[in-house]
């Protein structure tokens, strides 16, 4: 059928702009650790949305993602440059550990990069080993401290 390749071509052309708003939904969020005193006198650390912070505050950067489309998405890579004024500390509990970079080009562990400590980290990256099925979702998160 001569019409079919034509349709495919149209679909491919539409796919790129549609992706920005479409099949992959990603929400970036920053939370700050706040000490909250409970009625029993104990102090708990709660995560509250961070709008205003001061140096020394511990913050958690979270990337939540979901495939809202009808096709699997392959080779998903999440690259988060660590913002200026923020020092990377560690993966958040319940999040896979990211690959780290001190220059945005080479990724690995701190030891592999020959970095003295987490202060040197400039980028964190997560790669999904398998295609993300339609409807599937997950989160990545890391702890950092305000310089």
């Amino acid at each position: 059928m001569p019409i079919r390749p034509l349709l495919l071509l149209a679909a491919a052309a539409l796919a790129a702009p549609a992706l920005a708003a479409g099949p992959l939904q990603v929400t970036s969020q920053v939370m700050v650790e706040a000490k909250q005193r409970a009625a029993d006198g104990t102090t708990r650390i709660a995560l509250v949305p961070a709008q205003r912070v001061v140096p020394g505050d511990r913050v958690v950067f979270t990337l939540a993602y979901r495939n809202t489309g009808t096709q699997p998405l392959a080779d998903l890579v999440f690259d988060n440059p660590v913002p200026r004024g923020v020092a990377y500390r560690a993966p958040a509990p319940n999040s896979p550990a990211p690959e780290l970079s001190v220059d945005g080009r080479r990724y690995g562990t701190l030891a592999q990069l020959g970095a003295a400590g987490p202060d040197a980290v400039t980028h964190v990256r997560w790669r999904l080993a398998r295609p993300l099925a339609p409807g599937a979702s997950g989160t990545f998160a890391f702890h950092a401290v305000l310089k």
């Binding site: 679909a11 990603v26 920053v30 001061v54 140096p55 913050v59 004024g85 305000l146 310089k147």
Partner: protein, 288 residues
Amino acid sequence: MTRRGTGWWGMIGAALVAATPAPAATPAGTTIANTAQLTLVAAGAAPVTLDSNTVTIAVDALVEAAIAADVPTAPVATAPQPLAFTVANPGNAATVYRLGAAADRDGVTVATIAADTDGDGRYDPATDRPVSTVTLAPGAQQRIFVLASGALAPGAAITATAVADTPAAATVGATGGRASATVRLVDAATPAARLDKAQSVAAPGGGARAVAGAIVTYTLTARFARDCAAAEVSDAVPDGMRFMPGSIMLDDQPLADAGRLDGTTVRIALGDMPAGAVRQIRFNAIIL
């Protein structure tokens, strides 16, 4: 034989403890934005890179205070005696610090505080004017002089205090926005440390004659009048004598020779010594 007489072969090397300023924090008012980049491949399409939403956080003012005495002890001098302190702003916003000073005994007054306006580290009444506050940018520091008058005597302690003005919107950090530091006055004639050396001779078969084969025990006593950092005692074994291995004692505890013998010189690192510390080193040498 003069080579066996009591002499000043020993030396003490010491450095005074210095304060180091803290690194500057992210300035108040900074906006920190975070955007992640995503790369993905949809079936049948080329790889696509897109940005996540951008989240921003605003950095608020954090008020901290720091002050350090330029030296922990100062020999008594003529009143008014300037005592140097350095006020620093470890916070992230320009902050006004109210300065205060107090002495720990009656008769010593500390009414005046002057800023080291020209930053030369010396009090000069013509240029270093009295102040009650200093305003410091984040990460900045300013030396001040507390002018001590009255009956200045060894043992007196003068404390300088810096209290940060706290705007209503600011967060006060771990220091509570308040810091103080103390300088203690010491006897002007007292050097930072002194080292005394004594010897005793044990001749073969008894007696104290300095003959070949006699063993000389050297006793070095180091006394520290002020806090001293990285103190080291060294003493060269005289010509015509040989150090006896395994004979080094520090405060009556044996010390290994390794790392403490530099040719024919015995070298003992004592580390940081507080004011008032006394250390006694002993070692033996045999007369050849």
